[in-house]
Symmetry: C2
Subunit: 265 residues, 2 copies
Amino acid sequence: MSEKNIYADCLPGEVRALIREGKITCQTSGMCSGFAQANLCVLPKKYAYDFLLFTQRNPKSCPVLEVSDEGSRTLHSIARGADIATDIPKYRIWKNGVLDGEYTDVSSFWRDDLVSFLIGCSFSFEFELIAAGIDVRNISLGCNVPMYLTNIDTVPAGIFGGKMVVSMRPIPYDQIVRAVTVSGSMPRVHGTPIHIGDPSVIGIKDLSHPDFGDAVPVKEGEVPVFWCCGVTPQSVVMNSKPDFCITHSPGHMFITDVPNAMLKN
Amino acid sequence: MSEKNIYADCLPGEVRALIREGKITCQTSGMCSGFAQANLCVLPKKYAYDFLLFTQRNPKSCPVLEVSDEGSRTLHSIARGADIATDIPKYRIWKNGVLDGEYTDVSSFWRDDLVSFLIGCSFSFEFELIAAGIDVRNISLGCNVPMYLTNIDTVPAGIFGGKMVVSMRPIPYDQIVRAVTVSGSMPRVHGTPIHIGDPSVIGIKDLSHPDFGDAVPVKEGEVPVFWCCGVTPQSVVMNSKPDFCITHSPGHMFITDVPNAMLKN
């Protein structure tokens, strides 16, 4: 059992408090079993309309769970009492599309013009896949999910655009349909796969060298299945170069109070 | 057969051309069978972020199908070649939240700062309900669906907020579950009902006096079932008083090229 699973049965508010105190700085996969986790993208208000429109035009990549009010570090809906600037184990600061640093607390960078976008995460449907009897390789191996840049264009909006990032899970032939229907029941956490099978069709040359996360083996009789990924906004930020942006560090998510079951149709 | 059904088997582009030429000025219910129709809300760019955020926070009332680029009268996705300012049979112009007039063409009011929001319409799931063997009373009677202001608050965003508007269809007890699952398969056109049964629970005093549209009888053994309605933005505009707004006139919708089947999960 890896260290992070110590927190599997904790409530989100308890774990967020430990993160805020700096006692948890690792990845959040497997924490607060049954509760949704979220990707974060924080932008100055001048970019907020373009980015919100980008999420509307790319709902499978960027299913928005909540948008904060301008300048606010609190949320109304998905995590009461949470502080966006302290309750994620690891943040990334981006300047002009370039990664400027990683931090466990971004309070000192906060500004009155920042708007926070919380975006659904595939961790939610991974729980459902496992509950449906499907092995989720990255979880059974205790590593991060492999993520790849594709040749699929997102639909641009204002300054934002770029290629789609996907996550990959190997699925046995006889469980592919079930994997589609189970994940498809949760459109607010990426929903159905975007591609099934030959990686080269979507521009992925080598499954063993993911652009983010860790490689996992695809066994005999298994097919690589690809889902839209909440790291897409980071790829888009790198491409679109807003002067300032805060995101989570991949795998280090915001843990919400929303039960995964609430994200079903 | 009412006049409008002459156009049931026409393609969307054909009917939009007739509307543009002023040859169709009536309601669009039943036209272009199988293709989605859309509600329209056009606002100056200065309001666009607040309104887009309002739609994100109220997805069952305001499921956005497409947002135009600023100042553009054309769309990229749901209706190629269409002109937003001429292709709806009847528009409403609102000034400071007050209805200022109805027009069959709003070209002369167009401005370079206008952004158009096209929002899913219950006409799409009505086709599916009928296909599933459920009588849709307003269609079988050839009238407009009854719509009601409720006591349900929308989730506010910036200047926008107000009460939710719902549409009502009487459903026999033994078809209620099917009506929920059939409409629930189409979240981009309001999805599942918001309320089933006693109208007073959501603040509706008298079903025989709808706030918009036409009353329909609820027969013995039937239950009133309420869905979120795309007229909600008009109620919100009345409440929030932006200085300028263009909407469609209720029932006079924008006919898209999108097959209803494409709006399923």
